[in-house]
Symmetry: C2
Subunit: 211 residues, 2 copies
Amino acid sequence: MQHKPIHIIIVDDHPMVIEGLKTLLSDDKRVLIKNQFMNGTDTLTYLEHNSADIVLLDVNLPDINGVEMVPKILNIRANIGVIGLSTYSEPSIINQMIKKGVKGYLLKNVTGEELVNAITQVHQGDFYFGSEVQKILADSVTQESNDQPKLTRREKHILTLIAEGKTTNNIAEELFISPLTVETHRRNLMQKLEVPNAASLIKVAVEKHLI
Amino acid sequence: MQHKPIHIIIVDDHPMVIEGLKTLLSDDKRVLIKNQFMNGTDTLTYLEHNSADIVLLDVNLPDINGVEMVPKILNIRANIGVIGLSTYSEPSIINQMIKKGVKGYLLKNVTGEELVNAITQVHQGDFYFGSEVQKILADSVTQESNDQPKLTRREKHILTLIAEGKTTNNIAEELFISPLTVETHRRNLMQKLEVPNAASLIKVAVEKHLI
DNA sequence: TTTTCCCTACTGGTTTTCCTGTATATTGAT
DNA sequence: ATCAATATACAGGAAAACCAGTAGGGAAAA
């Protein structure tokens, strides 16, 4: 019994990755690459008028952030299975993507076999996460909550100023507020990020992409 | 007049990138992919016994750092043209690679055309840097010296401990040395990285990939 | 062998950060 | 209109960081 092939859209701004994906999938007759795009907007306009089963979505697109792309895609066609793709394994991003509704996530060191597994499983309505991704998620659950704490606008601003090496007084002058206020913000920042001082504040801020 | 094809070695730990490169190069008869490897050590042992014209070298290998790979390759066969490949455009790394002797550098968003250009040019003994890479290099020259300052082993170690939020006393205890010594190291670090305090120290350390 | 670099350590002082707790005006959302 | 979140501000004190300069011993390089 022949199934009709699973229709795939590839979204990645690297020609060589697109070619690689095509090659890895070309042997398998269960899948059919229907189209490919190198940015987010083209993908979305295409999907307005055409359907697909699976979107293989690179996280680092030139125009639209991968995390933002997911809901946009699902908004247009809720029955599409989105599989995230990225080179590096950053727990916070993976977590965000899952929250936004991806059904699968793969690192770019996948083999063709894994890729096909992911696609077929997601097409059947299941989730699929590569073994490495699973390990990362497991670590991130046990070790610490990798959610981005919500920082206010002001806090983010002050955070960047701290990172620039400015002292409380410098910052206060720059923002025309009391040094005491700046101190309060700094304290709140350290509390939110659960660190004991400014140095590690900057470190986790960078890790969590807040800077 | 037919030239004999340029012999290429691909080194990248992502199967899909390898496949992509192969596809992008498969049309062109001037080049011939001789072999491919997914890590540094295999590449080096292969080159001990076999030659090649060009090595396409990914910067992020699982075992050996790309920057360290270049001299190792050139040490085995000085006449090989090494072309660096990476996803992201980090001036300091590109600079380091050039110092180590790469003849070309490309971002992974290259087109097949550019790729072939790079290979043929490098094979003729010229340099080739993608347009984006050139822009990055130009910026890095004008804006600031993106060289990594030379930190000693001890300094690097202490730097990471500072980033973890440890105080001078904590670090001193951990390393069984005087807090005063740790302070000295910290001061030297700040001086070398030209920053006024620990917070910005961590920031530039992250930027310069020292952490 | 001399020189240079690295790690170590100190004095003595100033500035900044960090802690704990409190409090009010403003803004935004329900 | 009211409640929650945000930005603002303060006090008082302990801890840590930062500044400037100096210096010895050991290892490695010239």
